[in-house]
């Protein structure tokens, strides 16, 4: 972890959501996968528009979206929940807690890491 490395974001966090502090749904985690639709409608507020544009061409996790937009994760949770409500974004949850101890999953992580070694 290091200090701030870039300039201020274009939109302050509390303005990006239009003053909304809490997401309309609580299910979005850092590793929830966001996928946008084909269509980016006109007239969306700037931060929501920027989020949809970031999803143009592929999916991103919530935390990656936050890093790209230079917004706190909590702001992206609000924006993404709003876009999901509008039917413009879909979200896929990360691996559920109960599956984190799945021996097969852990083995795939270990095998995958071993395969990276040079």
């Amino acid at each position: 972890m290091t200090g701030r490395r870039s300039g201020r974001p274009l939109v302050p966090a509390y303005l990006s959501t239009g003053g909304v502090a809490r997401p309309s749904r609580n299910s979005l985690e850092r590793l929830s996968v966001l996928t946008g639709g084909e269509h980016v409608p006109d007239g969306l507020p700037a931060a929501r528009h920027a989020l949809l544009k970031a999803l143009d061409g592929g999916s991103l996790t919530v935390v990656e979206t936050a890093a790209l937009l230079e917004l706190p994760v909590s702001a992206v949770r609000v924006l993404a929940a709003d876009l999901i409500d509008l039917g413009l974004v879909s979200a896929r949850p990360p691996v559920p807690l109960a599956a984190l101890h799945d021996p097969d999953l852990l083995k795939r992580v270990a095998d995958g890491l071993r395969a990276l070694k040079q």
């Binding site: 972890m1 290091t2 200090g3 701030r4 490395r5 966090a13 509390y14 959501t17 909304v20 502090a21 809490r22 997401p23 609580n26 985690e29 850092r30 590793l31 996968v33 544009k53 970031a54 143009d56 061409g57 592929g58 999916s59 991103l60 996790t61 935390v63 990656e64 936050a66 890093a67 790209l68 230079e70 917004l71 706190p72 994760v73 909590s74 702001a75 949770r77 609000v78 990360p94 691996v95 807690l97 984190l100 101890h101 021996p103 999953l105 852990l106 083995k107 795939r108 992580v109 270990a110 095998d111 995958g112 890491l113 071993r114 395969a115 990276l116 070694k117 040079q118």
Partner: protein
């Protein structure tokens, strides 16, 4: 390094998830400032390490919200993370997580749903790691310790280090050079093998 290609597109710097991405998991790389968390993440991440700005006051409540962001006492901290696409549809995220007590609530949010933590320790500053070990044990997250070695690190014995860090005999402790990808991968493997061993029912 880590060569898995991700689909490239303008503006997002090739950040979009590969189509094969199925199971997204995370491991915390925890430790005090300057211990080499970002160096380790950088050595294995397929993307340039990114960071998010986290507001401490916002993170101090369980329900994540933006209340208090305009508060003048709000401080921000940058949380670095990296990503490794593994064979078999697994995408591993590494979150550099600061260990100080004052990051407690942020810690809880980032630790939620993590497989475990790799705790980086600088043996020249062992005391700095007590906070993070306390936090990780409090969260109940399984962990392994990686000693990030520096040229002027003192040659303590494994036993001395285990005793000063008050480690459980079952907790893996390995040496690593966070600048070296293979060494970083070995440290992560030590953690994952520990997770596999402790989750195996016959060991209960």
């Amino acid at each position: 390094m880590a060569s898995a290609p991700s689909s490239s597109s303008t503006g997002t710097g090739g950040l979009h998830l590969p189509d094969s991405a199925r199971d997204l998991v995370k491991i915390l790389v925890a430790g005090p400032f300057g211990v080499g968390k970002t160096t380790l993440i950088d050595s294995v991440s397929e993307i340039r390490p990114l960071h998010t700005e986290e507001h401490m006051s916002e993170a101090s409540v369980q329900v994540d919200d933006l209340a208090g962001v305009r508060d003048k006492t709000t401080t921000t901290v940058a949380i670095d993370f990296g990503r490794i696409s593994l064979a078999g549809g697994v995408v591993l995220y590494l979150f550099g997580t600061p260990g100080q007590e004052r990051f407690r609530s942020l810690w809880a949010d980032i630790a939620y749903g993590a497989l475990g933590a790799l705790v980086l320790v600088d043996t020249r500053r062992i005391d700095d790691s007590f906070d993070v070990l306390g936090l990780v044990e409090e969260t109940g997250l399984p962990y392994a310790v990686a000693l990030n070695t520096f040229p002027d690190s003192r040659p303590y014995t494994e036993d001395q280090l285990r005793r000063s860090l008050d480690l459980d005999p079952g907790t893996p402790m390995v040496s690593c050079d966070a600048r070296d990808a293979n060494s970083s991968i070995d440290s992560l493997l030590a953690l994952v093998q520990h997770l596999i061993a402790r989750d195996r029912p016959e060991t209960w």
